[in-house]
């Protein structure tokens, strides 16, 4: 199973979660990152995600490999959208199954944090006033003003 996915289409959490089922797993934890309607006090209308696909898939797979070594889990998966997203859409989905809940929570947190830090994907916010801007990891603009 490919564990890190870049997806041009709407993410389906149920379908993604099915891949992680295991008779040994007593716990399943998932995280959904969704497009919100405001950032830095500006009204956001939509987002665009751009990825350097070849390297994003390598780095994403690397993070999931690290995660499975660090935590006692059964399966993990992360799917990230590319293209244009509307408010409320799922931008990123992480799911982890494990025997016990502690490992699933910790591993899920690890994966989303590392993906946001390391995977070459960029967010361009389009604002209600017609402007748009690329963001840094802390959600501040690349070129303020």
């Amino acid at each position: 199973m490919k564990q890190f996915l870049l997806c041009p289409d709407v993410l389906d959490p149920q379908q993604l979660a099915q891949k992680l089922s295991s008779d040994r797993a007593g716990a399943f934890v998932s995280f959904e990152g969704r497009v919100r309607n405001r950032n830095n006090h500006r009204v956001v209308q939509r987002l665009e995600y751009q990825a350097y696909a070849a390297l994003a898939e390598i780095e994403g797979a690397r993070i999931l490999m690290e995660a499975s070594e660090k935590f006692a889990i059964e399966h993990a998966c992360c799917a990230h959208r590319v293209g244009t997203l509307a408010i409320g859409d799922i931008a990123v989905w992480v799911g982890v199954s494990s025997a016990h809940r502690d490992a699933a929570f910790a591993c899920c947190r690890y994966i989303i944090d590392e993906v946001k830090l390391r995977v070459p994907i960029w967010k361009n916010e389009h604002y209600a006033d017609g402007e748009s801007g690329w963001l840094h990891p802390d959600n501040t603009p690349v070129d303020p003003g």
Binding site: A51, Y52, L55, P120, W122, H136, D143
Partner: protein, 79 residues
């Protein structure tokens, strides 16, 4: 040397393209970025970027080869 350069996010906007072929005598990513910055007016300092060569993260002082694909990566903002 002839390189293929790919641009993403703010660098693509400032270069006005997503990809270009670049001929130069330079053979180190750090010097190459300085040359491209002067050409395209990139606002990001090299200290804010990472560099990838042929689809893998690379060192700023790597010796580039003719035909390499080079990408300067702005700070990422996925998730």
């Amino acid at each position: 040397m002839k390189y293929t350069l790919r641009y993403f996010a703010s660098l693509a906007d400032q270069a006005g393209c997503a990809e270009e072929t670049w001929e130069t005598a330079l053979s180190e990513p750090r010097a190459l970025y300085a040359e491209l910055r002067a050409r395209h007016g990139f606002t990001l300092d090299a200290s804010r970027l990472r560099v990838a060569v042929n689809g893998e993260f690379a060192d700023w002082h790597l010796a580039l080869a003719d035909g390499d694909e080079i990408v300067f990566l702005p700070p990422v903002s996925g998730g």
